[in-house]
Point group: C3
Chain length 211, copies 3
């Protein structure tokens, strides 16, 4: 069994982005379970699926060891988020503040997913797709299992924000790495751009032209 | 291609639990297809997805060879269950008897999944999650594809029974293996506890407090 | 990371079938996104999921490198199909012509999936299932995420046509390869049979007897 430790390949900054992404998405999964009046066990399972779902699909596709399986604290973070939701009123978590937090997770995860795929030697177009998958698939699984309209079908700029961050990260690393530009700079710009776009979409109800 | 034979790692008892789990879940998948008035081909595909779905996701996550792919009799069992459903009246399969049989499959599969994950060296919290996945994901795929409310969202003690069996199995093996306690004893206790909880839930309509 | 190049194992004919399958399925995914009035980004993601979904699940199950991840032109083909749909009226794509094209993709992909699985040494019954998965799972993912009734539940001969092509391919290769019969002949017969059955189902609204 190959057990490459992602923390060797990626830097502590990405590890931190990783934890932010997992925690925020786990929170959104637990909140859906709360809205559907589920039990604590189901809430924990939803938090886990939403928190680690996108990164899991990415790791399977790029043939990496699934990131959370051998590191117990990811599961612990997800279950902790479920415990927090269980013990607080849901109105604490409603409204735009949560949407912005979700936007931070989305941008962080899209950059992280694209960067990990680049570090596995994928071509930039595939790495971009891996970034989008990492950012959006956890929420898609959550919505499909809860029987809600999928995050992918929303008119707002959600997948597009993930696509912006992932594209800037993949093609930024591809273009600038040979010229000695720091990966940190590329990641920061990519995450910031996605977060700005997503925040603008939340604030001004922006959407792309639809078919 | 790594082809570790699970039957070398696990014991014949687990192999037997495995077949019980596959057969019962395949039956439940075929029954959903029957209720939806599908053809025999679709019924067979549903039986297969439900029968092997949970173990397949577990094997992908722990980086094991997918258990049924190189062993043709798993697929044969699933298609046979579809043939049985096709040739019998559905009322034979309705009512609580089938629910209890499904509970046996759930407990068996949750223990099997957790035990296999422990044998691959996962930490107990991840092995517990693998047990829950093995027990519940096949039915979740079945429900999502049939467009039914997912098994995960039911108010009854279903995921919770899987979680009980998987937790007792993982942490039991982790605690007692170093002290020479037989795995058989741990597995038997874990499966029995999950089955008792699930049976009580069926018999007395028990549920966890919901949010 | 094992990176076996599928083009070494399979022949150029299969590569060509592969591209036809990806393009046709990507088109059907983009069309669903168009009907749901989605943005271009979502349309591209739908095209990709539908185009490569079935082959992705097959590759994960048989422990092959996922075919499109390291070859950027698959993603490029999918996004191109989305661009074509975006820039043309949907009525161009409605009606039976598209159904026949989809039938070509279905037969091509079912044969390709079964042949690839045979080349990885799977038993014929598993290779048949891999063919059915390759042909139908992309469309299933598309339908589930779009919240539509799944392709698997349609009364028409859809899964059955995939099953016919996949069965003829797997068992044909298993029976005739030792006797020196060309794989090309087996593949041609298998694809042709599935296409004829699917075309007859479209033309005459054929269906299997349902339960």
């Amino acid at each position: 069994m190959p057990v490459a430790d992602a923390s060797v390949i990626l830097t502590p900054v990405l590890d931190w982005l990783d934890l932010v992404g997992v925690a925020v998405f786990a929170l959104s999964g637990a909140l859906i379970a709360a809205r559907e009046r589920q039990t604590f066990v189901t809430m924990g399972f939803f938090a886990l699926m939403t928190g680690v779902g996108g990164g899991t699909v990415r790791d399977l596709l790029i043939d990496a060891p699934v990131f959370w399986v051998r590191h117990p604290w990811y599961a612990a973070v997800c279950i902790s988020m479920a415990a927090i939701v269980w013990n607080t009123p849901t109105r604490w978590w409603q409204g735009k503040l949560f949407d912005y937090a979700d936007g931070v997770g989305l941008a962080a995860y899209s950059v992280l997913g694209a960067a990990k795929a680049m570090s596995y030697g994928l071509p930039p177009i595939s790495a971009t797709i891996m970034g989008i998958i990492t950012g959006t698939v956890g929420g898609t699984i959550r919505d499909v299992i809860a029987g809600r309209p999928s995050i992918l079908m929303r008119p707002e700029l959600y997948v597009t924000a993930a696509a912006l961050s992932a594209t800037l990260c993949s093609f930024g690393m591809w273009l600038f790495d040979p010229h000695g530009v720091s990966d940190w700079l590329v990641w920061a710009v990519a995450a910031f751009a996605g977060l700005v776009l997503r925040s603008a979409a939340i604030r001004y109800n922006l959407g792309l032209p639809a078919f």
